[in-house]
Amino acid sequence: MTRTLHIANLSVSTGGREPTQILSGLDVTVASGRVLALVGASGSGKSTACAAALGIAAGNLNVSGQVYLDGTPVAPASLRGRRVASILQNPRSGFNPLRSMRDHLRETMVALEKDWDEAAAREVLEDVGLEDPARILDLHAFEMSGGMLQRMAIAIALLSRAEFLFADEPTTDLDLVVQARILDLLAEMRDRRGLGLLLITHDMGVVARLADEVAVLDAGRLVEQGPVGQIFHAPRHPVTRMLISAHLALYGLELSA
């Protein structure tokens, strides 16, 4: 069965006397086994949307809108870590430097009210391509590369059994070769586990590699949405056309009129 996470009419503005609108009525649906890419320039509201949908927007912001899981309204905070796992840019900042990888996995199991299960922990590490799980479990973040840590973050997400993953610039700080492997891994998780992915990125190459659907944000507004083929070959909105042109220029290609 296809599960859906529908973010409906999500708006975010700053408080104070002269409120600024950061996000205006965003409406997108993430489906299991699919990747929805949310793209836009820096400051277009991508990360704010992701945070607000999970109820972790900064306290001084006004958030309105509703999130539906399979059509039923749900509180954003109840999704976090249970229905929706998250991975972020710069994985190193997400790990406690004083704790081993085993401690991090244990914390996830405690949060889910499960007992420690070393076999399950080793299994998810193998699933994300971290070889020699017994050794990895004893490592601390400073002993691991950025690529290993991002795999670890994905392993924690898998361990939670969340059906959806919000990935905010998951490969931006990684080198190109590591990036390619992490994107392969995310594609595999979508295809094999039916993970529904909300992918936030500014790199249209990442979108081309992984996305099924694309939503384009500009200054907090959704300006275009469609299947990935349509967005790349027949973009309509000027912002989408600018993003695609800048991307294709890197390959010496031009957007066909």
């Binding site: 190109l176 590591v178 500014h202 081309a208 349509q230 993003l243």
Partner: protein, 267 residues
Amino acid sequence: MSLISARNLTHRYVSRSLLGGTRQRTAVSDISLEIGQGETVALLGRSGCGKSTLARLLCGLETPTAGEVLFEGRSLRSLTARERQGMRRAVQMVFQDSPEATNPRLTVGRIIAEPLRHLAPLTGAERRDRVATLLAQVELPVAMADARPGQLSGGQLQRVCIARALAPSPRLLILDEAVSNLDLHLQAVTLDLIARIREATGIACLFVTHDLRLVERFAARVLVMAEGRLVEEAASGRLSALAHPASRALREAILPPYPRSISGIPA
């Protein structure tokens, strides 16, 4: 004569810990290269391959463990204090993380003028004029001289860093992943800006990057590094001829220009 060259450069970092004794790591090993006047060269390699260390050695920020860097044919070790200052003017660097590379308390004008204060004999009024010219050159409004780094976007602040590097009229600009932190559109805009500056000034550029996509467009020649060594070299029109496993891994990691799926394309 080449502008800058390296002869058998080797550089080791030594880390000492309280209990574990010392450990040596060779970041750069036995590298020789030349960069000519006005030439554009890309230095390509994965994270940790030693490319930033090589860049720092070339501009004299670090002294090599073995081998030497030559500026206009003369070893940096043998330069007089005066000649060394001339070399520091001539070789400038732009770093990846512009917020880290600027003092948040200073104004943009002061930041750009910093190298001039140390490297050029100008009066206060002349410095202000020069800052205005430099801001115009990187296509920023002159009024921005009074702003502070926190008030600028990432793309604007990286332009400020480029203006600062251009301030002493260098002949070689080393860009160490200088656009990697910007979003793709801004990367293209910034690289176009540098290309225009290059055409206007004839300055040589060394692009340090891990992104092969940027190489073809902005450099005439590419050097590939892996595990501290220079493993391959090619003209940028002949990137497909790169055959070393390290070069192939970088080429194969390039993201596709178009999605494989063609759903939603109008017939």
